[in-house]
């Protein structure tokens, strides 16, 4: 399980790095999406992996060791929503820059080759 999870994070993150180094705005936005998956998974992994142990307590007197760590989950939930907001903002920048400069290059002008 752990090894699969680690490989998943690595592949997603690596694809993200490749994409954010590309010259087109759309590539950048997809790269950021992939990176945010990887980073969210990574933060989530800080609470270690638990199968079938959601942090939902049926009654007040429970053994905390029997539940997944709720803290990274709460943090990642926040991160997902904020990630959504930044993606939207970046999307608008992308559209705006394209309209303003006529180019979809990240620098707003075609490279001088």
């Amino acid at each position: 399980m752990e090894i699969v999870f680690a490989i998943a994070v690595g592949v997603t993150f690596g694809s993200g790095i490749w994409l954010i180094l590309r010259p087109r705005t759309f590539q950048l936005i997809t790269g950021l999406l992939l990176m945010s998956y990887a980073v969210n998974l990574f933060i989530f992994g800080m609470g270690r992996l638990w199968v079938d142990r959601p942090p939902i307590t049926p009654h007040a007197a429970v053994d905390p060791a029997q539940f997944a760590d709720p803290l990274p989950q709460g943090l990642v939930l926040t991160a997902i929503v904020i990630g959504f907001a930044t993606t939207a903002l970046y999307l608008v920048m992308m559209i705006g820059a394209r309209g303003l400069t006529g180019s979809d290059h990240v620098d707003g002008e075609e490279p001088r080759e």
């Binding site: 680690a6 690595g10 608008v92």
Partner: protein, 968 residues
């Protein structure tokens, strides 16, 4: 509060003056006058206590954990300086009322002047070293603003910049200096530091502290080699020169040296650094002053030289020298302020300050001439005037310091005395000679109240000069006792001490000065000479300009070499740093104990085989096949959501799924505006080798980064988890938060302040998106209707989107999706209601609801949806934020901290007992904000196509038709 009012009232007055109308010259002057007069009254009230020798203190906690309190403190020295600042301030305000032209923006002038007064009072009243530096820098800032008051003149701008650069840099040195002092003493309190003199002087960091503090003081007081800024500061209006650059601000440097005398003085280093700078300044300043052609320039150099005199006295550092230094500070302020005002009057009346033009003014300005001659005589040190007394003391000290064999100090003093007599004669020469009417303006005596400050100051010069013991004696004694304490020497303040060495030196200086002037005048063409002989090559201002230019040039060079405005190299650097820096910082991982791992589940592995394939393929396709890439990356997102579900995080899975949906739709809406991109294979282009190289390099970094991330993740996962605060939340979620879904309770209760911040960010982003898109103009080549929608054979291309959904090819999905709207609404409510106990909550419910609206847009288009639904996303946003905030504030009403949750138990008919925590209401606010945000962004994006559609087919981006569509 009495002390605090001394500083606060000028600042309050400054704000008030700034708000007054442009032409209210009298009201502003009255305001400034009242501030200064009120300050003088307070100062007067303090006199009995200060005269009794008590040190008044007022303290205000600021950063008590760092030993920093706002301390205001008045002893004799501070009191005398307060008096000086306020008294001269009062006279300057009166003078400025008549000096400033009605055309000048007077509110700004009085505002800055009052702010300066407050800062200067702050410097002298500070009882904390750091606080003192803060006010010190404030005086630099206000001085900058005042010098640059006539900012349409380039010399004013240049002078202001130069003064600010030099004095503010000195201020930074001073800050470092007091930090070192604070480190040595262990406290920033002034009293503690003053009492710790022996400790400071024997400390190994003493020299560092001394040099830094000296740099601060010497730059402020325009001492060699930093003296060059003062003459350039003369571009300021004359009241400013008179107040800041002769009487008060430049005195801050020498004030500080006197203030810290008990802590720092008494070593050879002190004598050499302070005294050395003083001697150079005194000679250079006095010498250059003789050759100035500008009235104010002459006075500026003379000020430099007199400040040098004071610095020398402080540098000598004996108790008697300190007495002389304080005495001369007061005397110099009196006669120099009056001289500057005289120069202003002459400038005002004749329209010129050029010494080559001015002459014979005694006929037109008889009273002003008389006043100016008296104060010049005081400056030259003529007997029966105040300048004479302190200069005698200075001669006595210089004679003492060298003993019987070493006379160089006395020689320097006498030379300076000669020079000052010469430039004083040069100054008064404007009143003599053949009268002429060859001035830009016809001179008359100034208005009565404009001359009054000068008259008062000249009378003060006379009184102090004739009966010093009764007039200034008590005040001087106050300041001296406060500084020297038990070391206070006996001194005699009478004009006549009998024939002694100082009198002899005075006589030599006086007759030598007259002779020097006559010789220069007769044989060296003094009146027309362009350059200062010998030392004109050593120009501090030139050195300053050169070094500023070198700095700017090298910054440009550096920016060109290592800076870039291109994004890709920046990201590349970031990625490289991310790869390289952490291993360097952490080093090799420590040995760890492994925890029992989970058996790999083949289904989970298969899931991620798909997820990874999607990610890699998406990365591969993103350039030429955007839609495919977006779908593939969405696949990775779904797999991520599934992973959350698998690994015991149902809330995350739900949120991820909904965010994924909304994000994909938003990006789909944006794809339309990107330019078409065709593969080079189809265009039969060859890809250059350089591009391949770059791609290989990026691939290498990507692989390395992915590998590193995978290793790091694995390393963490096999580590036993550290002690966390998870147990706290797990145990208290139900008992205290009233919900069994710990993640939701965490978000809306334990960490609800974070969530409040988060929804605020969401709202800000939504509004930013909206604002940015209002100005959006599509690129010319994507403004047209896409080719796919223009196919003449397709009947859909003749229909509107709404018609397509009503009767066209989308009729069947149309019926389904419209029926789905209420169902999705119910599901959203369901997820919202159960959120506190089971997976769900405001975030998820809000996103679900937004998706319900979103599919309607996708189906029938913007026009149809908006004619059937009143969405008003702004109101959702506002209402949501208000609800969340009101819930938080509600806790205050019951005396609990912000955002404390309370649970109410309500018996409902049919439903039975229901507990309603206030967090539920908070979650409602979150729900509303999420709905509002998503809809606002969606609507803003969707409206773009409406606008573009209105373009004439060949319209460019600047076409007038763009943006005329209904705003969102």
């Amino acid at each position: 509060m009495l002390l605090a009012s001394l500083i606060l009232v000028p600042f309050a007055g400054s704000v008030l003056a700034a708000l007054m109308p442009e032409n209210a010259r009298n009201r502003e002057a009255w305001l400034a006058f009242a501030v200064a007069a009120g300050g003088l009254l307070v100062t007067g009230l303090l006199y009995p206590a200060v005269a009794a020798g008590t040190v008044l203190r007022e303290e205000l906690a600021w950063l008590p954990s760092h030993g920093l309190n706002l301390v205001l403190r008045v002893d004799g020295l501070a009191w005398v300086f307060t008096l000086l600042i306020l008294l001269i301030g009062l006279l300057v305000v009166l003078y400025a009322r008549y000096y400033m032209s009605p055309k000048d923006p007077v509110p700004r002038f009085f505002s800055f002047l009052l702010a300066f007064m407050g800062s200067m009072l702050g410097v002298v009243l500070s009882g904390n070293l750091v606080q003192l530096v803060v006010f010190w820098e404030l005086t630099s800032l206000t001085s900058f603003l005042l010098i640059g008051y006539w900012h349409h003149r380039s010399d004013a701008r240049r002078g202001a910049r130069m003064a600010f650069t030099v004095t503010a840099t000195g201020g930074l040195c001073l800050l470092a200096g007091v930090l070192v002092l604070g480190h040595i003493v262990g406290s920033y309190d002034l009293d503690t530091a003053l009492a710790a003199g022996p400790l400071i002087r024997s400390h190994e960091l003493y020299r560092v502290a001394l040099v830094l503090v000296a740099l601060g003081a010497l730059t402020k007081s325009a001492q060699f080699p930093f003296h060059f800024w003062l003459p350039h500061a003369m571009a300021a209006p004359t009241p400013v020169s008179s107040y800041l650059h002769s009487a008060t601000m430049v005195k801050a440097g020498v004030f500080l040296l006197v203030r810290l005398w008990p802590a720092l003085a008494g070593t050879a280093e002190w004598n050499w650094i302070i005294g050395g700078a003083g001697v150079c300044t005194l000679l250079i300043g006095a010498f250059i002053a003789i050759f100035q052609h500008d009235l104010k320039g002459l006075l500026a150099y003379s000020t430099i030289s007199h400040l040098g005199l004071i610095t020398v006295l402080i540098g000598i550092g004996t108790p008697l020298a300190i007495v002389a230094a304080i005495f001369h500070i007061l005397n110099h302020a009196t006669f120099k302020a009056s001289l500057f005002m005289t120069a202003g009057i002459i400038d005002h009346e004749t329209g010129t300050r050029d010494l080559r033009v001015l002459r014979g003014l005694r006929r037109q300005l008889p009273v002003t001439a008389a006043l100016a001659i008296v104060s010049s005589a005081a400056m030259a040190g003529v007997p029966l005037l105040n300048g004479f007394l302190s200069k005698e003391m200075f001669f006595a000290e210089t004679a003492l310091v060298g003993g019987d064999e070493n006379w160089w100090m006395s020689v320097a003093a006498v030379a300076m005395g000669m020079f000052s007599v010469a430039y004083s004669l040069r100054f008064i020469s404007i009143f003599f000679g053949t009268p002429t009417s060859d001035f830009p303006r016809d001179p008359h005596e100034p208005p009565r109240w404009m001359r009054f400050p000068v008259e008062l100051l000249v009378v003060l010069c006379l009184i102090v000069g004739i009966v010093p013991g009764v007039s200034i004696g008590p005040f001087l004694q106050l300041a001296v006792t406060a500084t020297l304490g038990p070391n206070t020497p006996a001194y005699d303040l009478t004009p006549w001490h009998g024939v002694n060495l100082p009198l002899l030196l005075s006589t030599i200086a006086f007759s030598g000065g007259v002779m020097l002037y006559v010789v220069l005048r007769r044989y060296f063409n003094l009146r027309q000479r362009e350059q200062v002989p010998v030392i004109h090559r050593f120009s501090g201002a030139q050195a300053y300009e050169t070094s500023m230019m070198v700095l700017t040039r090298s910054a440009q060079w550096l920016l060109q070499r290592i800076g870039t405005t291109r994004l890709q190299p920046q990201l590349l650097m970031m990625m490289l740093a991310m790869l390289i820096v952490p291993p360097l910082l952490v080093g090799m991982p420590v040995a760890w104990t492994e925890i029992p791992l989970h058996e790999p589940d083949p289904l989970f592995a298969a899931l991620w085989a798909i997820g990874c394939a999607c990610a890699v393929a998406g990365a591969w396709m993103a350039k030429y096949h955007r839609l495919a890439a977006l779908i593939l990356i969405g696949g990775t997102g779904i797999v991520t959501a599934a992973t959350f579900l698998w690994l015991s995080a149902p809330d995350l899975a739900l949120t991820q799924l909904m965010v994924e949906t909304v994000t994909t739709v938003l990006i789909l809406l944006g794809l339309r505006w990107l330019p078409p991109r065709i593969e080079p294979k189809i265009l039969q282009l060859t890809i250059p080798r350089r591009v391949w190289m770059r791609r290989s390099r990026d691939m290498l970094i990507a692989v390395a980064g992915g590998l590193g991330m995978a290793l790091l993740t694995y390393a963490v996962l096999v580590h036993p988890p550290p002690e966390t605060i998870a147990d706290f939340f797990l145990l208290r979620a139900l008992s205290e938060g009233g919900g069994s879904n710990v993640v939701n309770v965490l978000l809306v209760d334990f960490r609800s302040f974070d969530t409040l911040g988060e929804v605020t960010v969401l709202s800000i982003v939504a509004l930013t998106v909206y604002a940015l898109l209002r100005r959006f103009r599509p690129a010319a080549d994507s403004a047209e209707i896409p080719a796919q929608q223009k196919n003449a054979a397709d009947p859909a291309s003749r229909q509107t989107t709404a018609e397509q959904a009503d009767s066209g090819y989308l009729q069947v999905p149309g019926i389904y999706l419209r029926m789905l709207l209420p169902f999705i609404g119910v599901i959203a409510v369901y997820f919202f209601m159960r959120g506190h106990n089971l997976p769900g909550g405001g975030f998820v419910a809000g996103l679900i609801f937004a998706v319900a609206i979103l599919v309607q847009y996708m189906l029938a288009g913007t026009v149809w949806v908006e004619s059937h639904l009143q969405l008003r996303p702004h109101r959702w946003l506002g209402a949501g934020l208000l609800i969340a905030l009101a819930t938080g504030l509600g806790a205050w009403a019951f005396g609990h901290p912000f955002l404390t949750t309370h649970t109410a138990h309500v018996d409902w008919p049919l439903l039975g007992e229901l507990h309603l925590p206030s967090a539920f209401v908070f979650d409602l606010g979150v729900f509303a904000v999420v709905v509002g945000t998503t809809m606002l962004m969606l609507v803003a994006l969707a409206h773009q196509s409406l606008r573009a559609r209105r373009l004439p087919g060949d319209g460019g981006p600047d076409d007038a038709g763009v943006g005329q569509g209904r705003e969102v």
